[in-house]
């Protein structure tokens, strides 16, 4: 950040500000300026203060007639409704994320299970947490498996969501009481994870644009809902529409004393420059043979890249009668190993390709600086029978959780700018079951945003 007056606090910083100035938070409910079942836009007019990054967008769907058991995929919750999103200031696109729901599946790995159990299942319906499953509750040695824990004591071997989490069309009341969840703006736009935008310094309006996930998909053969999961008793191809009246942006505007705001505008705020991370998506679709020994150009040409995130989706996993629908990442076949490496600037990232599952898990942990809170069987299928066969919403947990969290990430650590040839991902996933798959790879790219004289601009670092 360029400072012309260093005496005041950095008001954009989301961390603690060491100052005694008073802070005011004003919350407005913003309705979409454009809304359809495919697209939504929020227009944020210029107003006093900073757009706080923990502002939220609330979302809900209308329970579809005939279905009584729909719920969002357990690992991404209401984030499943968002296919792509962009943050624009005036005509400039500041940040844009493609295949958001899949990327959200990756980023949700790093929420602790305790956080999901105690908080997220109420805020976004993300509820991946684990517990030992005891065959005999009087015998502490009888838990040969583990399963999902949402705080309920399972009735026998059949666990269910809490009643308020179900989208049921059983009656007009249940339709009216369909759950509304929310998602943080900072989850949508990584640029907001470290800074809050000084909207009062920007002349142009700010736009939040969202493309919704299609209502249905036929990737697995039959037409099924792409937005919801449901019990086996419900009809899979029922379309779930987003409830327009429940789509709101809860805009938290943070402001300070007028003289502090003025001083900031005339000092640090005159010429703001900060870096943030954005994600560029590369996709490859093909049959199982396509991924047995793949060298995949994933872009990053001429950019500073700080991370590469990847996951493989099987078409057959796009099943609405399931726990995660198709938004997981498919682990290698039991007994096989995934092999990864990056090639950029004519050198490999790892001198020897990495294939040990636990090592790839640790590589992901090091890349993110946080631990993926998933188990061995969810990540790599090793001894998959350790996940319980008990059901959750009628679906066997071992069937729908095993090997569905095999997200990986690599942090290019040489600090080089990628040359014009870009990054090649070396990806070997042999002997996959016969199916069509899509490999999604996001390259985390460093961008720079500037705010000067009321004009926001953005460019690659």
């Amino acid at each position: 950040m360029t400072d012309e007056d260093d005496s005041g606090p950095d008001l954009m910083d989301l961390s603690e500000i060491k100052t005694d100035i008073a802070q005011t938070v004003q919350t407005d409910i913003i309705r979409p300026s454009v809304f359809s079942q495919n697209f939504c836009r929020f227009t944020l007019d210029r107003r006093l203060g900073f757009l706080h990054s923990d502002s939220k967008i609330t979302l809900s769907v209308t329970p579809a007639a005939g279905n009584t058991s729909a719920y969002y995929p357990l690992h991404i919750g209401v984030g499943v409704l968002i296919d792509s999103c962009s943050l624009k200031i005036g005509q400039r696109t500041i940040s844009e994320t493609q295949s958001f729901s899949h990327l959200h599946s990756y980023s949700s790995l790093f929420l602790t299970n305790e956080n999901n159990l105690e908080r997220e299942q109420y805020l976004s319906q993300r509820c991946i947490a684990h517990k030992n499953v005891y065959a005999d509750t009087t015998n502490p040695l009888s838990a040969s498996t583990y399963g999902l824990d949402n705080g309920k004591n399972a009735d026998g071997v059949a666990n269910t969501l809490n009643a308020f989490q179900i989208n049921s069309a059983a009656s007009a009341d249940t339709i009216a009481e369909a759950p509304t969840y929310s998602i943080y703006l900072s989850d949508l736009f990584p640029c907001l994870q470290s800074f809050q935008i000084p909207s009062y310094l920007i002349n142009d309006p700010i736009f939040v644009e969202i493309n919704w996930t299609p209502v249905s998909t036929s990737l697995s053969g039959a037409q099924v809902s792409a937005r919801m999961c449901m019990a086996s008793t419900d009809t899979e191809d029922t379309e779930y529409n987003i409830t327009e009246n429940e789509v709101n942006l809860i805009y938290d505007s943070v402001s300070y004393d007028a003289d502090v705001m003025q001083k900031y505008a005339e000092g640090k705020g005159r010429n703001i420059v900060f870096e943030f991370k954005d994600y560029s998506l590369a996709k490859r679709t093909g049959d199982q043979a396509e991924f047995s020994n793949l060298v995949f150009p994933i872009g990053g040409n001429g950019r500073l890249c700080s991370k590469v995130i990847m996951g493989l989706q099987a078409n057959d996993s796009y099943v609405a009668r399931s726990l995660l629908n198709g938004y997981g990442s498919h682990a290698p076949t039991d007994g096989e190993e995934l092999t990864l490496n990056l090639l950029y600037n004519d050198r490999y990232e790892f001198s020897i390709d990495r294939s040990n599952a636990a090592l790839l898990f640790s590589t992901t942990q090091a890349a993110e600086g946080a631990v993926p809170m998933v188990s061995r069987q969810e990540y790599s299928r090793e001894m998959g029978a350790t996940i319980t066969t008990d059901t959750f919403e009628g679906h066997a947990e071992n069937t729908f959780l095993g090997g569905q969290f095999s997200w990986n990430a690599i942090r290019p650590n040489r600090g080089d700018r990628i040359n014009t040839k870009g990054i090649d991902l070396i990806y070997k996933n042999p002997n996959l079951a016969a199916d069509d798959y899509t490999l999604r790879v996001w390259v985390e790219i460093v961008k720079v945003m500037t705010i000067k004289d009321g004009q926001a601009d953005c460019y690659y670092a």
Partner: protein, 443 residues
């Protein structure tokens, strides 16, 4: 090119790449050689694959029908294989840090500083730790293939943010492997060793992974200085035995900056005993029946009072800790003050992620093999208990025990004189100085 990954094979791996204590390879040795780079100690990982065999040929895995009673500690996973860690200068062989009884140290350290959900999620992938005996046995001990693992090695030099200039301080890292009789135990109701005598564990594809920073030319003189120093907290271990109702642990530590101390206990007959779990960290106990006999005995020798002393004076607490058992010998609860002080000894900060709970820290169990209330039935990873004291809340310069006597007095119920081993771990601040390829450790 600021950072690069290194991947190093062990120095002493046989031609088939398989390492096991049973086949005469009790030490894994890695060398991170001299180079113009700075080693990020916190990035060190040991990765490999673990196979568990039930026959001497190493061809058959344990099953529900064969070697069905084979078990290892679920709260340690692969950490149960590491008996000692030594970090030394590659050329002069001077020791930078060494933790003996490493498995015993980790038996307290890991479950106390990681949560129930940690053990149920990511630790099952990286270190094969699971929170329940049966799920651990089914997925690791009876794995029909190799179990992959990749673990950090918690010790003073790796837990800090230490950066080692490899141009002056090339290092060797030696890991002594535990004997099979220490890693495994029998889960039979009598501790029977039938079908277990040939079982062994075997490591393959073992490698050390780390990241090094390659300084730019303008950083060379600063980051790759020929001499320098850094502080690190280390663990020094001591061993003693309790045999009476007034047990005293007494040592001259020779350490000038002691931060904390903690002790964990195990009946001495359980150490390196295939019929018993060598990683148990429960309360001292009376004599229990031998392997193969009907399980009996092993009642808890509850601690009634605990006093930490320095040169014969109560220190750091100016009082005796009179446990809740001293007040009410019918209580099934462990004394919360003792637990709190144990946790403080391991981490002076408030511990927010821990696996110790009333489930695995209580007086409900006896220390024998029975399948009703034997210690092997303790849920959530097994028994977790110990005694500790924090000397320096600020993790600053600690307390000087270089010439003073360190003592713990424990009044307990060990009326039959059954020897119980007490593993004492002292956390202290050390300083490493290096110059011209030589190092000096100031403790």
């Amino acid at each position: 090119m600021p950072y690069k990954y290194l991947e190093l094979s062990a120095n002493n791996v046989p031609s088939d790449g398989k390492v096991s204590h049973a086949r005469g390879y009790p030490v894994l040795s890695f060398s991170i050689g001299r180079q113009d780079a700075v080693l990020d100690m916190s990035s060190i990982r040991i990765a490999g694959k673990l196979n568990i065999w039930r026959d001497t040929a190493g061809t058959l895995h344990p099953t529900g029908a064969n070697a069905a009673n084979l078990m290892a500690s679920p709260k340690l996973g692969v950490y149960g294989m590491f008996d000692q860690i030594t970090i030394r200068h590659t050329e002069s062989k001077q020791v930078c840090e060494q933790i003996r009884h490493y498995q015993r140290f980790l038996s307290s350290y890991i479950p106390l500083l990681s949560s129930h959900q940690d053990a149920l999620s990511h630790m099952s992938e990286t270190s094969l730790i699971m929170n329940n005996h049966l799920s651990f046995r089914n997925s690791v001990i009876r794995n029909t293939a190799a179990s992959s693992f990749c673990v950090p090695l918690p010790c003073g030099m790796t837990l800090g943010k230490n950066r080692v200039p490899l141009n002056s301080l090339p290092i060797d890292l030696d890991l002594s492997l535990s004997p099979d009789s220490s890693f495994f135990f029998s889960s039979a109701a009598t501790g029977s060793l039938a079908e277990l005598s040939d079982c062994f564990y075997e490591l393959s594809d073992i490698k050390l992974l780390c990241e090094v920073y390659v300084p730019q030319p303008d950083e060379m003189s600063r980051m790759l200085a020929k001499s320098g120093a850094f502080d690190f907290n280390s663990i020094t271990s001591y061993f003693s035995t309790l045999e009476s109702t007034n047990s005293i642990i007494n040592f001259r530590l020779g350490l000038s900056r002691v931060l904390s101390a903690f002790v964990n206990f195990i009946p001495s007959t359980f150490v390196n005993n295939l019929s018993q779990d060598g990683s148990i960290t429960y309360m001292p106990s009376a004599t229990s029946s031998a392997a193969g006999a009907v399980a009996s005995g092993g009642s808890l020798a509850n601690l009634e009072s605990i006093t930490f002393l320095k040169n014969g004076e109560r220190f750091p607490y100016e009082y005796n800790v009179e446990t809740n058992f001293d007040t009410d010998n019918n209580t099934q609860s462990a004394d919360p003050q003792v637990i709190r002080e144990l946790m403080s000894a391991l981490s002076p900060d408030d511990v927010v992620r821990t696996n110790i709970s009333p489930n695995n820290c209580n007086r409900d169990f006896v220390v024998n093999n029975n399948r009703t209330n034997g210690y092997k039935l303790i849920p959530d990873g097994g028994g977790m208990w110990g005694v500790g004291a924090l000397y320096d809340k600020l993790d600053a310069d600690g307390v000087d025990f270089s010439s003073e006597q360190f003592s713990i007095q424990m009044r307990n119920g060990l009326t039959d004189g059954n020897p119980n081993s007490a593993y004492l771990f002292i956390k202290s601040k050390n300083t490493m100085l290096w110059k011209d390829g030589q190092i000096q450790i100031i403790t």
